[in-house]
Symmetry: C2
DNA sequence: GTCTATAGGCAGATAGAC
DNA sequence: GTCTATCTGCCTATAGAC
């Protein structure tokens, strides 16, 4: 899940700001990232950043909206380059390998933890991201052999999708501090994938 | 997972401060809770709070340490009042029902998201909490029928415990914004429990 | 144990020059 | 598009009276 996406009309500086903001938020959380931090990182002044993103709410909204677009592209790429549920889930899990290795989390996982303090527009985007993931995972699972047979208590592909998403977000969170995070993260998810795609 | 625990020697005011701090942090995150917020909530001044907890790091450490003790008592109670793996996991999941209904998360789940900005002592306690949970879940699972048979890719009870913990923390995170959070949270976990304790 | 008062710093945000 | 300068407010923390 890389920072830069197909940026459309956005200026070079605006893109750099979004890159830095995303990187810092993924590692520190929304409320621990300031215009001052970004300015220092990018060798700009806070006023310059306010020119591109008038308020922090604007910056946050643009950041998550871009994250959703990039993520949609990555999911589409996975779907088109693979054929089995197992391959798809495995590559989906690995979308987070890089951030995790650098001490970060899924952008929307972090933001969900800060939920109560988020501007409304940002909160809406975060919710949209989770809906995107659940929808996609549901369709992936529905194409394979019946998941509800592998996961005993599961009544629908959607329910399995929600469990899978929860497991991913949670595994990032719980394996954050100690070493071998990446391996532990992968191991937990492999456990679920093997059950689902037996 | 209630706020107040067996407080030992702590003064009434110190306990009230910890209660308010825990409540606010679980709903807003570590960096969105200030001495000013606590003072307003408790009808005190920030100076009074500094008397009980000189720095925010002290407050954070005491808060998580107490959370761990309370949680240990709750786990012990579950173990002694139940007999099956299914009952134990179900009641363990329900430990978070109240906070979740009030818009909060597991204290350590929130703090893990803020990990990079946490004082060292607090980070240590958070890691300790996750270790506590994994150890306990491992022992619970090891007592039942072989989990590695139910969860295909699982090589040990510990691995299943880590997946279960991740699923819990993640389900709280992903079901935070929309309504029916509690039901969705429970449904995701029931799915896993039914598979594990088939 | 709680208060008033205050220090010193950083937050988000704006005005106006270049 | 970026700068300097500045505003206002909140942050953590401390000194000292009661």
């Amino acid at each position: 899940m890389e920072g830069s996406a197909a940026e459309g009309e956005r200026s070079h500086t605006a893109t750099r700001i979004l890159d830095a903001a995303q990187d810092l938020v993924q590692r520190r959380g929304y409320n621990a990232v300031s215009y001052g931090d970004l300015a220092a990182e990018l060798d700009l002044t806070t006023a310059a950043i306010h020119y591109h993103f008038p308020s922090k709410a604007d910056l946050g909204e643009a950041m998550v909206a871009r994250y959703r677009r990039t993520n949609a592209d990555e999911r589409a790429a996975i779907r088109s380059r693979t054929n089995t549920v197992r391959e798809r889930l495995t590559q989906y899990v690995d979308l987070y390998a890089d951030v995790l290795a650098e001490g970060g989390l899924c952008l929307c996982g972090v933001l969900a933890a800060d939920n109560a303090t988020l501007p409304k527009a940002v909160r809406r985007e975060v919710q949209g991201f989770f809906d995107d993931q659940t929808d996609w995972l549901t369709s992936i699972l529905a194409e394979g052999t019946d998941v509800t047979a592998q996961l005993e208590g599961c009544e629908s592909p959607r329910q399995a999708a929600e469990l899978f998403l929860a497991a991913i977000e949670g595994a990032m969170l719980t394996h954050r501090t100690p070493r071998n995070q990446l391996n532990a993260y992968r191991a937990s998810l492999r456990c679920l994938i093997d059950t689902i795609a037996a």
